[in-house]
């Protein structure tokens, strides 16, 4: 091999504490190095041109650039060497900026260290092999998981672009959290009026197939060609026959079911259509509350149903689809706030969550849009809002800001005044966080025009006294304690990743953080991609966000999916594992550990052997470290390449 070494000064960034010429001189003596020089800015156009010129002039077959981190410019230089006519993988970088010049001032030590890093890079490069990507066809269909506003947006955008879309929603209706809201900030628009038409679009779009009351069972395959199994949970109502007339829900004798859609504000029936605008507008039976399932006799709904849609023997069903890309839009849940003893831990009925309050405010909610205290049904006059409940609280493992509570609390305070003009709202807050178009103005309006009293401080205790709730807290601006006698307390409960998010992440093989939120590919530059190719994120599942941000991310995720599936063929990264079949003894250990199910067993003349599914392999190398005889190797990070690096460093 003929190796060329280029030591970058990076202006004075490297040259300030590394003798670059000295390093180049030492590198010239390394095995197979035929050309070595230092260079002012390797990444700039003249620098790249110099590399290309040297390749041609000296007939180089491999290049080492010692400069910044490969996480920055490896792609740049790979392209450059490719332009020079060398395979892009016949290139190595030594990180002598972030790992040398920027972290030490001792020129002698830095120069020595830089020279050794170059030696390692050259030693590895000698074992590099030319790698070429392979291409494969894609399935032009997208799976959207979650039918909240983010998922709806992603589905509609992708469907409008001509892709087939499969939407899976866990609940019997799409709409998500937004469908539960009465109004939206800062325009105080009717939430269901703006969301409703979008939901209808989903139902009517010829390119969208909706599986409501369904969950993702299993995902296999890889970008462009995922095989997805969807579990359609039994609704005990044949939706092909159900017309959504609602007769069954009127006659159902079990009237004490927990009303999931209404957050338990009022009871509901065991067979139900979640709300009037539900999509699909179909009835389903909550088995836990149905008399027939629990007491063995009833069957009223089956008797009254005009189309004979009720089917008590219905079983879950598995549907299999092939998709090319996946958008996860699973949203969030409210944190279980009853961990807070100081707010009564759920003992006081007149302490409600913000989402329950939305249902009370909603004209289509169980109270018909009248705000009523759950304890006695009376109209409250003094309403206390407590912000940052289960947000920004490390003591319960929720140190993050939920981001939307400040705004919806302001909105709810305004709506309270609208509903009950002689009411007085109090808002306990930590900070008012209202960045966003028209947001800060909104939080000012609630104070200035609607007379909500904002108290900066935490609430230490809520306790009942004479039919009221005493809310005691600090007023950190006035420097004292305040006590408010409230008729109703609304907790602005923060959000957390939707229940089951980690399990879904495992199925999708994407990373998730300690709170269960899915990890984006890069916090700045890849906000909707994940580290698993072909899986994208939209909405609060990636991190809590408000409606416009969720919608924007839904569109962004759709754009990524559309971009991906606009091609007929995809290229695979060649830095993947490969098997030398004659060394493989078929012990299956690599198959066992592979996080991506990218290795399968094949039969080769009666012998079991491992085979890498090239399009699925992500190149982690776990199999390589597992295989006792080293029969499976990770291209570009083979045992020999790493050993060469180790040995370049060894003293003995």
């Amino acid at each position: 091999m003929r190796i060329g070494v280029f030591i970058c000064h990076c202006g004075s960034n490297i040259a300030g504490t590394v003798d670059c010429a000295g390093v180049a001189q030492r590198a010239a003596a390394y095995p197979d190095v035929v050309y070595s020089t230092d260079i002012m800015y390797a990444c700039a156009e003249p620098g790249q041109d110099a590399v290309i010129a040297a390749v041609k002039e000296h007939g180089l077959t491999g290049v080492v650039v010692a400069s910044c981190t490969p996480r920055m410019h490896e792609p740049t230089f790979r392209k450059a060497v490719e332009r020079a006519g060398i395979n892009r993988y016949m290139f190595e970088m030594a990180n002598i900026r972030e790992h040398v010049s920027w972290i030490g001032k001792d020129v002698e030590a830095n120069t020595n260290k830089a020279a050794e890093l170059v030696r390692m890079a050259a030693a590895k490069l000698r074992l590099n092999r030319e790698l070429k990507p392979k291409s494969f066809p894609v399935t032009k269909r997208v799976l959207v998981i979650g039918g909240g506003v983010a998922g709806i947006q992603a589905a509609l955008d992708a469907a409008d672009a001509g892709l087939e879309v499969v939407m899976v929603e866990k609940q019997p209706t799409i709409g998500g959290k937004m469908a539960k809201l009465d109004k939206t900030f800062p325009t105080v628009d009717c939430s269901s009026c703006i969301l409703g038409p979008r939901m209808v679009d989903v139902a009517q779009h010829p390119n969208i197939t909706l599986y409501a009351y369904s969950e993702l069972e299993e995902v296999s395959g890889y970008v462009g060609n995922f095989d997805v199994k969807i579990r359609k949970k039994a609704t005990y109502v044949n939706w092909d026959k159900c017309t959504g007339c609602g007769l069954c829900t009127e006659k159902c004798p079990s009237k004490k079911s927990y009303d999931r859609f209404n957050e338990g504000v009022g009871p509901t029936t065991a067979i139900l259509i979640p709300f009037p605008q539900a999509i699909p507008k179909k009835a389903s039976i909550e088995r836990d509350y149905c008399r027939l399932f629990n007491q063995g006799k009833c069957g009223v709904c089956a008797k009254v149903c005009p189309t004979g849609a009720i089917d008590y023997a219905m079983q879950d069903e598995i549907v299999e689809v092939k998709v090319g890309g996946i958008v996860a839009a699973t949203g969030y849940d409210l944190v279980d706030w009853t961990v807070y003893g100081e707010y009564g831990a759920g003992r006081y009925p007149d302490v409600v969550t913000s989402l329950q309050y939305e249902r009370m405010l909603s004209a289509s909610g169980p109270t018909g849009g009248h705000i009523k205290r759950p304890s006695d049904g009376k109209e409250p006059k003094d309403v206390v809002f407590i912000q940052c409940v289960a947000s920004r609280d490390p003591s319960i493992g929720r140190p993050y800001c939920s981001g939307f509570c400040c705004m919806y609390t302001a909105k709810q305070a305004i709506l309270t005044k609208d509903h009950i003009p002689d009411s007085q709202s109090y808002v306990f807050y930590m900070d008012i966080r209202s960045p966003g178009k028209g947001y800060d103005e909104f939080t000012r309006r609630v104070q200035e025009e609607y007379g909500a009293r904002y108290v900066r401080g935490r609430v230490s205790m809520i306790y009942p006294k004479g039919g009221k709730l005493v809310v005691r807290g600090a007023d950190t601006l006035m420097g004292g304690q305040v006590e408010v006698e409230a008729d109703l307390v609304v907790l602005a409960v923060g959000g957390e990743a939707a229940a089951g998010s980690p399990a879904l992440a495992e199925k999708l093989r994407i990373s998730y953080d300690g709170y269960g939120f899915f990890m984006e590919g890069h916090p700045k530059l890849k906000p909707v991609e994940t580290n698993t190719a072909g899986v994208f994120l939209a909405g609060a599942c990636q991190g809590l966000k408000d409606i416009p941000s969720s919608v924007a991310q839904g569109s962004a995720a759709a754009a990524k999916a559309i971009g991906l599936l606009s091609r007929n063929m995809l290229d695979s990264d060649p830095q993947i594992a490969f098997v030398s079949v004659n060394r493989c003894v078929g012990c299956r250990k690599c198959i066992e550990v592979c996080p991506f199910k990218a290795i399968r067993e094949i039969d080769m003349r009666g012998q079991p052997k491992a085979e890498v599914i090239e399009t699925v392999c992500q190149g982690c190398g776990l199999c390589n470290a597992t295989c006792p005889q080293g029969a499976i190797q990770l291209s570009h990070f083979t045992d020999n390449q790493i050993l060469a690096e180790v040995e370049a460093l060894c003293r003995f």
Binding site: Y340, G341, E342, A345, R347, M461, Y463, P464, K465, G466
Partner: protein, 359 residues
């Protein structure tokens, strides 16, 4: 009854302001088979004022207490005072850090050798003795006495140090008082501040905070506020004049739970030491007796009514069974089966009669 032997740290207030706590604690522990071995030549726990000036000095005082225990072979000890408890626990916790421990050891010149634990009297009564055994020891039930349990700020907090009960809504004292027969009322200010720590820096605050607790206790209809902390007791009991001056007019006795336990166990006044309280508890006991009589009368009435109801129900069932048997008998001639049925139907009736007779 199994005996429990444990080291005992009375704390300074036990010798003065909370003599009644100390005296009743010893009596109650004796009655429940808890052998108290007082730490020989004990000293201040380091709570006041050392802990606000020098944490190592404060811990050194605590460390000497443990060292004195060690001399007597005592590793586990209890104390009635939550403030002592907190300070001794904090010292133990901090001394887990070798650097801090070294500072303390330099002061005491006597590094601790044993593993130490310290708990409150309330904790040992609830955790080691348990409500059942306490209930079994009651000779003079507190039935009819309406009480609110007041834990104060320290008994369960800081959570990480005290590691006892729910920090916001503790129930240990509730359970104990229930075992003694008292009616424990829901009391939302269980762990509120009594103002004790403001007694010197901000004197006006104390009666206001203490007043709030008394006011709430009165509002929920309590005859007495039951406490477990000498400082709380003093603030709530001694300051009722100041509190009245502040506009809260509630006169309530503030006994220690150990005093009530001593009373319920039938121990003499010199051990219950109610005379040491500023607010007389006797009116509360008078209330209790009246109410107990009412309750018992009510209970008799309901028992009788229920027995009557049961009797009627059984009668109805028997009649129905007889009817069914007749029908069955008419339908097919199977006298065996029918006979069995009616015999079975008769049984509850006999039983109901017997119950009714007893009532």
């Amino acid at each position: 009854m199994s005996r429990i032997d444990v080291g005992y740290f009375p704390g300074c207030s036990g010798l003065g302001t909370s003599m009644e706590y100390e005296r009743s604690t010893r009596a109650v522990c004796r009655e429940l088979g808890i052998g108290l071995r007082e730490i020989p030549d004990w000293n201040c726990c380091g709570s006041t004022p050392a802990h606000s000036t020098d944490s190592a000095l404060s811990a050194a005082l605590a460390s000497r207490v443990f060292a004195q225990g060690e001399k007597a072979g005592i590793g586990d000890m209890i104390t009635p005072c939550p403030s002592c408890l907190k300070n001794l626990r904090v010292a133990l916790e901090h001394m887990e850090d070798p650097l801090f421990s070294a500072r303390v050891d330099a002061l005491t010149e006597r590094p601790l050798q044993m593993r130490h634990s310290i708990r409150s009297v309330l904790q040992i009564l609830i955790e080691d003795v348990g409500p059942e055994r306490i209930k079994a020891r009651v000779r003079r039930s507190l039935k009819g006495l309406k009480v609110v349990p007041y834990y104060g700020c320290l008994m369960t907090r800081p959570e990480k140090i005290m590691r006892f009960d729910d920090p916001e809504n503790p129930v240990a004292l509730d359970r104990l008082l229930e075992a003694l027969g008292a009616e424990v009322l829901a009391f939302p200010l269980k762990t509120d501040c009594c103002g004790g720590s403001f007694a010197i820096p901000a004197r006006k605050v104390t009666p206001r905070l203490a007043g709030r607790i008394l006011d709430m206790a009165g509002e929920v209809g309590a005859d007495a506020v039951v406490v477990a902390c000498p400082l709380c007791q003093m603030n709530l009991d001694l300051r009722q004049g100041q509190i009245r001056a502040g506009g809260v007019d509630r006169v309530l006795p503030v006994p220690y739970f150990t005093q009530l336990a001593a009373y319920a166990f039938g121990l003499p006044e010199q051990e219950a030491a109610f005379k040491k309280l500023v607010q007389d508890i006797q009116p509360a006991f008078a209330c209790m007796s009246r109410r107990a009589a009412d309750i018992e009368a009510e209970e008799r009435k309901t028992a009788a009514a229920e027995a009557e109801k049961a009797r009627l129900a059984a009668e109805r069932a028997a009649k129905a069974a007889e009817k069914a048997a007749e029908k069955a008998g008419a339908k097919d001639a199977a006298p065996d089966g029918a006979g069995k049925k009616s015999a079975a139907a008769k049984k509850p009736r006999e039983k109901a009669d017997a119950d009714g007779g007893e009532a």
